[in-house]
C-alpha cells in the first residue's frame, strides 16, 4: 500500500513537472479556489445539461481508487487542452459523503492536483452512485452533450475491453474537432 501510494505520488509529481512554468503558476493560483461541491443525483443531472459548452466530460473517481488517482492528471490535462475548445470537465467523487476523513482527503487531493474545474461529491448513500451511473467499477468516464444526454462512456466493467485515458482523450479530440 505504501509502495503504491509512493507510486501514485511519483506519477502525480511527474505529471505536474511536465507542465510549463507559466502553467504551474497559473494553476497554483487557481488551486486556492478548488472546491468540492455536494450534489444529489438530480442536481448533477441539471449540471450535465449545459448549453454553453459543446460537451461535458465526467470523471468518476474516489480517494480509495488507486487507478483513479493515478490517472487524474490526464483529466487535469484534458481540461487545460480542451476547455478553451468547448469542453466542460466535472470530477465526480463517489466517496462516502458521510465520511469526513474521506471528504477531507478528496479535497486535499483535488487541490494538490490543481483541479481547477467543477468538482462534485455525489451526496447519496455510499455505493448508490454505481447504480445511478450503471457501472460496476471506477475509474469511469462519461461524455454528455449540451442537452445532458450521454453520448459515450468508458468503463472498466468488461475485463476484455477496459479503457485507457488515452482512448478518452483521442475520442474527445475527435469529437470537438468534428463540431
Amino acid at each position: 500500500m505504501d509502495g503504491t501510494r509512493r507510486k501514485f505520488a511519483a506519477a502525480s509529481a511527474v505529471a505536474i513537472v511536465g507542465f510549463s512554468v507559466v502553467a504551474v503558476r497559473a494553476e497554483d493560483a487557481s488551486s486556492g479556489t478548488v472546491k468540492l461541491e455536494r450534489l444529489k443525483w438530480a442536481g448533477l443531472q441539471q449540471r450535465l445539461a449545459n448549453p454553453h459548452v459543446k460537451y461535458t466530460i465526467v470523471d468518476a473517481w474516489s480517494t480509495t481508487c488507486g487507478p483513479c488517482k493515478e490517472n487524474f492528471p490526464h483529466v487535469v490535462e484534458m481540461n487545460r487542452k480542451y476547455a478553451p475548445k468547448g469542453l466542460a470537465v466535472i470530477s465526480l467523487s463517489l466517496d462516502d459523503p458521510t465520511d469526513k476523513a474521506a471528504v477531507t482527503e478528496a479535497e486535499r487531493f483535488l487541490k494538490s492536483n490543481h483541479a481547477a474545474f467543477s468538482n462534485v461529491l455525489l451526496d447519496e448513500e455510499l455505493g448508490e452512485g454505481f447504480d445511478k451511473l450503471n457501472i460496476n467499477a471506477i475509474p469511469a468516464v462519461f461524455i454528455f452533450g449540451p442537452d445532458g444526454k450521454e453520448v459515450k462512456r468508458f468503463t472498466m466493467d468488461d475485463p476484455k475491453n477496459q479503457f485507457t485515458y488515452k482512448d478518452v482523450e483521442k475520442y474527445v479530440a475527435q469529437l470537438l474537432a468534428s463540431k
Binding site: 500500500m1 480509495t64 460496476n136 472498466m156 475485463p159 476484455k160 477496459q162
Partner: protein
C-alpha cells in the same frame, strides 16, 4: 399442506429473479463455470495449489479479492464469518487474487491471511486468465457454483458495504437455496468494490 402450497405460490409471485448478465459482461448465471486449475494458493498458513476438479464440496463460492482494496477490507470479517458458518455444510470458499500489485501476490496473500485470520483458500492467478474468464470486474466479486459447477449466483455479498446497513444477504440466500436444491430468488446483483485492472 394447503398452507404450504399457498405460501409457495405467494413466494413465486413475489420473487422476480433479477435477469442474469445485467452486470457481468462475460458469463451468465446457468452457464458452466470456467475452469480453475493448478493455481498456487494459501490455506491454513501453508502454500498449496487449487483446482476446481479437486474440490469435493457441493457448492463452491469463488470470490475475487485484492489485499490492497479497502472494500475487501470492509468485507473481510463477513467473509471469515461466512466461511466459518458454512464449514462442514458442503460449501468451499475460494478466494482468488488477479491483481498485479506486489502486495496482492502469493507472499502478500500469506501475510494478509495471517494478519486477518482468514479461514478460506486464497489463490493467486498471475495470468489473470481466471479473472477474465469469470468476467470479474471488482473486488470482492462473488460467484456461487453448484455441484455440477454451473454458475448459480453472481455479484455482491449483500446490499451494503457498511455492515450495519445490510438488509439483504444475497450470497447466503443463494448458497442456502442451492444447498436446498432450489433456484436462488436473486441470481445476479451489481458487485461493489474496487475495480480490477487487467493488463493489456
Amino acid at each position: 399442506m394447503r398452507k404450504a402450497v399457498l405460501s409457495l405460490v405467494a413466494v413465486a409471485a413475489i420473487a422476480v429473479p433479477v435477469l442474469a448478465g445485467n452486470f457481468n459482461k462475460v458469463v451468465s448465471v446457468g452457464e458452466k463455470a470456467p475452469d480453475i486449475s493448478g493455481l498456487p494458493a494459501v490455506y491454513k498458513g501453508e502454500t498449496t495449489s487449487v483446482s476446481l476438479k479437486d474440490i469435493k464440496e457441493n457448492v463452491v463460492v469463488v470470490v475475487f479479492l485484492a489485499n490492497h482494496c479497502p472494500a475487501v477490507g470492509m468485507y473481510e470479517d463477513r467473509l471469515i464469518e461466512f466461511t466459518k458458518d458454512y464449514e462442514g455444510k458442503g460449501v468451499r470458499v475460494l478466494g482468488i487474487s488477479v491483481s498485479q500489485q506486489e502486495g496482492d501476490k502469493l507472499p502478500g496473500i500469506k501475510d494478509y491471511m495471517k494478519d486477518k485470520g482468514s479461514n478460506y483458500i486464497y489463490a493467486y492467478d498471475e495470468s489473470q486468465a481466471v479473472g477474465k474468464a469469470y468476467g470479474a470486474s471488482n473486488t470482492p466479486h462473488f460467484f456461487v457454483l453448484d455441484k455440477e459447477r454451473n454458475i448459480r449466483y453472481i455479484g455482491a455479498m449483500d446490499n451494503s458495504p457498511k455492515e450495519e446497513k445490510v438488509t439483504k444477504h444475497y450470497l447466503r440466500d443463494a448458497v442456502d437455496a442451492v444447498l436446498a436444491g432450489k433456484t436462488p430468488e436473486v441470481v445476479e446483483t451489481r458487485p461493489y468494490g474496487c475495480g480490477i485492472s487487467y493488463a493489456k
